[in-house]
Assembly symmetry: none
Homo-oligomer: 178 residues x 4
DNA sequence: TATGAATGAGCTTTCATTCAT
DNA sequence: AATGAATGAAAGCTCATTCAT
C-alpha cells in the first residue's frame, strides 16, 4: 500500500547514494520513481524531508543481540566485525556517511553507531578477558580502535580499496591486551 | 601579484569546506573573494576547475623525512601520528575527504595518503621491532590498522567527537606485536 | 488549450524571422509571449528545440493536388508558380531559408521543396508538351531552371527587390522547349 | 606589414563563414588569429566593424571586362556564367549571402551584384541577338532569369546539392529568344 | 491522491568591451 | 602596437516549490 511514497524513497535512495543529495534534483527523483513531480511534494513538503525521512526510516542502530558471545576474545570481536549494528542498505550507508558533514541527523546516527560499536567491543573484551579489567584505559583504547577501523572500512574502503581482514584485526586487538 | 586568482581560491576553499562544493555557488565565491563574477571564469573556465585546482595546488602527499626514527616502536609510531604526511590546511583536508566520494581527483589523493601512511608505519615497525619481522602478515595488519585510525580521526572525528589518544594507540599496536 | 506553448511558438516565429535565431534571446521570446522565462524551458528543454519544433510543426512540403493541369505548358507552369508547395507562413519561410546554412533540419526541408518543385515542373512539361519528350535532358534543365527562379524569388527577392513576373517566366520556359 | 590586422580578418572570415556572425565570439576570433583579445578591439572598435570591414575590403563587384563577347548568344552567356562578377573568396561569398538578411551592407552588395549580372546578360543578348531587340520585355525576363539561376546556385547549391549545367542554361535561354 | 503547467529566483557560463600597463 | 586582467550585463538553463484542476 502507498506505492508512490515508497517508489519516491527508493528512487531518492539510489540517486542520493550515487550523486549526493545536493546534486540530485527533485525532478530527477520523480522521473526515476515514475511519479509526477507534484506528487513528491505531496508526501514531502520540502526536498530536505526526503533525506530526513530516508535517514529516519531506513537507518537504525541495532540493539545488541541476545545470543551469548563466544568465550574467547578474538571470536567475540570477530562476530562483532561480521556485521555493523546498523540496519541499512549499502546505499543508505553511503548516504549517511556522505551527508553527515552537512546534516545533523545523519551525523547523530553515526555518532550513535560509533558509540554502540565501542560499547559492544568494550563489553566483549571485558567478558572474555576478565584479567584485563585491571587496565580499563587500555581496554577502552582497544575498543575504540576496533570501532574506528570498522567505520573506516565502511566509509573509506571503496575509496582506498584496501581492506583489513576482520579476523586478523580481532586477533591483533586481542594480542595487545594479553 | 595575481591577487585575484588567489583570493578566489581562498574564498572557495573556505566555502567548500563549510558548505560543500555543490551547495556553494560561484556567485558566493566571487562575492566572498570581492571580485566580479566574470573574473572567476576568466581564471577557471568551469566551476569544477576551482575544485580541481584547489586539490592540485593545495594538497600534497609528503615524502618521508630524513631524520632518524626513535629506536622504540611506540615512539616511532607516536611521531608518525603527530603529523599526517599531508601538506594541506584543515579546510583542504575537509574538502578532500568530503568530495572524495564524487570526485576522482580527491579520491586519488586520499588513496595515495593511505598508501604512504601504511608504508611509513610498516617501515617504522620493521626497523624498531626486528624480531617481529618473522610475522609479516601481522605486521602489515598492524600498519594498516594504525593508518586507518589516523584517517578515521581526520575524517570522522568532528562527527563523532571521540578522539583516540595517539600515544595510547601507538602503545596498543606495539604491544600486539611483542 | 495549451495556450502558452502556442504563444511561445508564435513569438519565436516572429522574432526569429525578424532578427534571426542566434540574435533572439529566450528572454525576449518569453517576454513577447507573455510567459515566464522558465515556462519556455518546460516546453522546450533547449532553445534549439524551439527552432526545430517550429520547422517540424509549421513547415510542410505539400503533395501535388488532384485537380487536372491546364492543357497548355505556359498555363501549367503558371499555376505552379502561383503557389509554392510549401505550407508555411511568410515568417516561417524566411526562417527556413535563413537558418538552412547552419541547421540541417531546415536544409532538408528546402532540399525536399526543391525536389518536389522540379518534379512537378517536369511533369507539367511532359504532359503538356508531348513532343518535347524526346529531349529529356533539355526538359530537365527547363524544370530545374523554373524551380531555381521560384526559390530564388522566395529567398532573395526581399533583398534585391527585383521580381520576375511568373507569367513571363512560364512563357519563357515554354518557348525554349518548342 | 600589419600582420595582426590581416590575421584577425582571416580568422574572422573563416569563422563567420562556418558558424555565422552572431555565433562567433570575438574571443574565438582572437584565439584563431593567435592575437590577444584586446588587440582585436584596437583595430576594430566594435565586433560589427570586423564584419563591415570584411565586406568592404574583401568583396567587390567587378566592372565588365574589355574583351569582346563571343558572337553567338549561347557562347556569350556561357562566358558570363563561367565567373560571377564578384571578387570574393568562397568564404566571403557565404558570409555575404548569409548576413544579407540582417546587415544592410551585405544586402547592398548582393543587390549590386544582381543588377550588374542582369545588366551584362541583357547586353550580351542584345548584342548577339539583334533581332530580338524588338521584344525588350522578353529579353529582360531572360536576362533576369539567367541572373537568378546563377545567384541561386551560388547561394543555395550547397544546400540542395543539385547544380544546373551553365552551358545547358545558356542554351535554354537562347532558344527561348529565337 | 494525482497531475503537470506555472513561477521566478538563482545557477553556471558567455560575451563584448574597457583599461592600466 | 600589444597585453591580458577586469567588468558586469545578459545569455541559456535548472530548480524547488506552488497551485488549479
Amino acid at each position: 500500500m502507498n506505492d508512490s511514497r515508497t517508489r519516491i524513497l527508493d528512487a531518492a535512495e539510489a540517486l542520493f547514494a550515487e550523486t549526493g543529495y545536493e546534486a540530485t534534483s527533485t525532478a530527477r527523483i520523480a522521473l526515476a520513481a515514475e511519479v509526477p513531480k507534484g506528487l513528491l511534494f505531496h508526501y514531502f513538503p520540502q526536498k530536505l524531508d526526503v533525506l530526513l525521512t530516508l535517514i529516519d526510516e531506513r537507518t537504525a542502530i541495532e540493539e545488541p543481540p541476545e545470543e551469548p558471545l563466544p568465550p574467547d576474545p578474538a571470536g567475540a570481536l570477530r562476530r562483532l566485525a561480521s556485521r555493523l549494528p546498523l540496519r541499512a542498505s549499502p546505499s543508505m550507508r553511503r548516504i549517511l556517511f556522505r551527508e553527515a558533514d552537512t546534516h545533523r541527523t545523519a551525523r547523530e546516527r553515526i555518532t550513535a553507531l560509533n558509540r554502540e560499536l565501542v560499547r559492544r567491543a568494550r563489553r566483549a573484551l571485558e567478558l572474555t578477558l576478565p584479567g584485563a579489567r585491571g587496565d580499563a584505559a587500555r581496554l577502552e583504547v582497544a575498543a575504540a580502535t576496533f570501532a574506528a577501523v570498522l567505520l573506516y572500512q565502511e566509509n573509506l574502503f571503496h575509496l582506498t580499496g584496501d581492506r583489513i581482514d576482520p579476523d586478523a584485526l580481532a586477533d591483533l586487538i586481542t594480542r595487545a591486551l594479553m
